[in-house]
């Protein structure tokens, strides 16, 4: 097992990883930028090291400084968290070359999982349905137009290296395509240093369903109950729940088995997520994420498993002792992503003057913010995850309503009111929603 792990991330996920490492008696060294000097992860970790100024490109995404930090602090592994370098195969490769274990899958698996167009080819070979699309990189607007004409509008242009809802643009007709194409390429280059894009059919009112998988180095794999991540805004998840209110046990098994086949095809190890779009009882492969996901807590609560500890153990070469028949749905769980943003979804920076976190039975809060925390404009606007769990969905919803009413964050704008509206929405309470839910609620929200 690892002795000392460098936590190459910030915020709530850094706190989460540090907690798991403490429980495993593994020393933690957290990297931080100048802007995070007084942050909670710095207080909690066994050691810390400043790797650069506030800008992520110069600190949390600065590969040479992250690796150097691991070497000078004598860490034998690096946990990349999510975002930043978590799915950068170049980073994973450099870790390997310097003898530092990367807590994640192999460089090859990360690389392949990150190439959306190539993954679609892998999935098609396994006879698993994929969303109709170009299935290869569109090098220019003309090839994009040809693909879109074949698929039929509306279409969505996606960055092959994209993820987390970033690097996507919709085009409903041909005259919108050229502009959407160029903008997506430009955004992809800035965000992922890779401007490759491909085209997919835009499915109307699908559900975004994802399957968590875990795998050891000897090919043992299991899948966990699905997460329904359909409540999204601009392709970014806002609220997630598990299990999905509209997925049958039979469909769950089909999705789970499909996810395992895909993961095995690319020799995937540790933990990861396979995302699908589901329309009635049809499902289509969307993408694979080779990292711990933001919404992992709901799976942890539903299946009573610590996914971060499992990830570290699998990365250290331990065998997966969990069997598929041992994985059950023990409860229902919901997660609300609390973002520092105003009612128009514009990020809100500032100092938190007062914070009151909810508690009680069935409530969990994952956060790194506290009184006087400075929310800077340099990083993602998500500042906390509010998670509830109950015997069934109505109980989980009830607890979430209570928890949202207890939650107080002052000094910055947040989307707490948006979540309250979602939880009061009749369609949501009936489980009748799709990826267009928030867009339909927009006027009501405003």
């Amino acid at each position: 097992m690892f002795k000392r792990v460098l936590v190459a991330n910030r915020g709530e996920i850094a706190v989460r990883i540090i907690r798991a490492l403490k429980e495993m008696s593994i020393e933690s060294v957290v990297v931080y930028s100048e802007a995070d000097r007084d942050s909670m992860p710095c207080d909690m970790a066994d050691d810390k090291i400043c790797v650069g100024p506030a800008a992520a490109a110069s600190s949390y995404m600065n590969i040479s400084q992250i690796i150097s930090a691991a070497l000078v602090k004598k860490c034998d592994a690096i946990h990349p968290g999510y975002g930043f370098l978590a799915e950068d195969p170049h980073f994973a490769e450099i870790c390997e070359s310097y003898g530092v274990n990367f807590i994640g899958p192999s460089t090859e698996a990360i690389s392949l999982a990150g190439k959306k167009a190539e993954m679609i080819e892998v999935v098609k070979k396994k006879k698993i349905p994929v969303v109709p699309g170009s299935h290869s990189v569109c090098s220019d607007v003309e090839s994009a137009k040809k693909a879109a004409a074949r698929i039929k509008y509306p279409v969505i242009i996606k960055a092959t290296a994209g993820g987390g809802g970033k690097g996507m643009r919709r085009a409903d007709k041909e005259k919108e395509l050229a502009r959407a194409f160029e903008i997506t390429r430009s955004e992809a280059e800035k965000a992922f240093s890779n401007s490759d894009v491909y085209i997919e059919k835009f499915l109307d009112s699908p559900r975004h369903i994802e399957i968590q998988i875990a795998a050891d180095r000897e090919g043992r794999m299991v899948y966990f109950p699905e997460r329904d991540c359909s409540i999204q805004r601009n392709h970014q998840k806002v609220l997630e729940e598990s299990p999905s209110p509209k997925i049958s046990k039979k469909l769950r098994r089909k999705l789970g088995e499909a996810a395992i086949r895909i993961a095995k095809a690319i020799k995937y190890t540790t933990i990861g997520t396979v995302e699908f779009l589901v329309s009635k009882n049809d499902f289509y492969f969307m993408e694979m994420n080779a990292r711990i996901q933001v919404e992992h807590p709901i799976t942890e609560l539903v299946s009573d498993i610590d996914l971060v500890k499992l990830q570290v153990a699998l990365a250290a070469g331990e065998k997966l002792s969990l069997r598929q028949d041992e994985i059950e749905v023990f409860c229902h769980s919901i997660e609300c992503r609390i973002n520092s943003e105003d009612e128009n979804f514009i990020p809100s920076a500032g100092r938190i003057s007062r914070i009151v976190l909810p508690g009680g039975s069935g409530v969990r809060v994952d956060t790194a913010v506290r009184q006087n925390s400075e929310i800077s404009p340099y990083y993602d606007s998500m500042i906390a995850k509010l998670i509830t769990y109950g015997r069934d969905r109505p109980e989980a919803i009830l607890k979430m309503k209570r928890a949202l009413n207890e939650l107080r964050i002052e000094g910055i704008r947040t989307n707490i009111d948006l979540h309250k509206k979602i939880l009061e929405n009749e369609n949501f309470c009936r489980g009748c929603y799709s990826t267009g839910f928030i867009a339909n609620m927009k006027e009501e929200v405003r």
Binding site: E34, I49, C50, V51, G52, P53, S59, S64, Q65, I67, S68, A69, L71, V72, K73, Y98
Partner: protein
């Protein structure tokens, strides 16, 4: 005090009531048999003088010539040891721009030490970051006031390495 005092330079009257005149001076030598003081009295007189702002005392009478002068401890204002002058002297700090191991010693010889006067561009040390050596050089002429890290010490981004004052 017996008569014969002909020069006193100083401020207001001393304890004996002697007042300094404008152009009077005292010197520090004593010549001839001391008809003015015996040794005990001399010591007492010197102690007395010390408590005043008289800086010179000269006495001469019938072969006895006494000059007592207080040594100046030197002017504070404008001296190199002056805190005021120190504050005016510009200082700057060299910080590490990388994470790595700081090196000050090369081939068992320190590249610099506290107190060294260095010229602009002088190599002071380096930080080894993943095998790449990031040279640390003086930004301008100055004297090394502090070295904040030991040789082979771990440094983080932004950590102070040297403080140098202008000369």
């Amino acid at each position: 005090m017996k008569k014969g005092i002909n020069k006193i330079t100083g401020g207001p009257a001393d304890q004996q009531g002697n007042r300094a005149g404008k152009n009077q001076k005292c010197k520090s030598k004593v010549k001839g048999p001391s008809a003015l003081f015996d040794s005990t009295e001399l010591k007492e007189f010197l102690a007395l003088l010390n408590g005043t702002d008289v800086v010179e005392f000269e006495y001469g009478d019938k072969g006895v010539h006494i000059v007592i002068k207080k040594e100046s401890v030197g002017e504070i204002i404008g001296d190199e040891m002056s805190p005021a002058r120190d504050a005016l002297r510009k200082k700057y700090r060299i910080k590490s721009s990388v994470v790595g191991l700081f090196h000050l010693v090369e081939n068992d010889i320190p590249l610099c030490s506290v107190g060294d006067v260095v010229r602009e561009g002088r190599r002071l040390g380096w930080v080894d970051s993943m095998g790449i050596q990031k040279e640390i050089v003086a930004e301008r002429d100055g004297r090394i006031v502090s070295i904040f890290c030991n040789d082979s010490g771990v440094v983080e981004w932004g950590q102070d390495l040297f403080e140098i004052e202008d000369v």
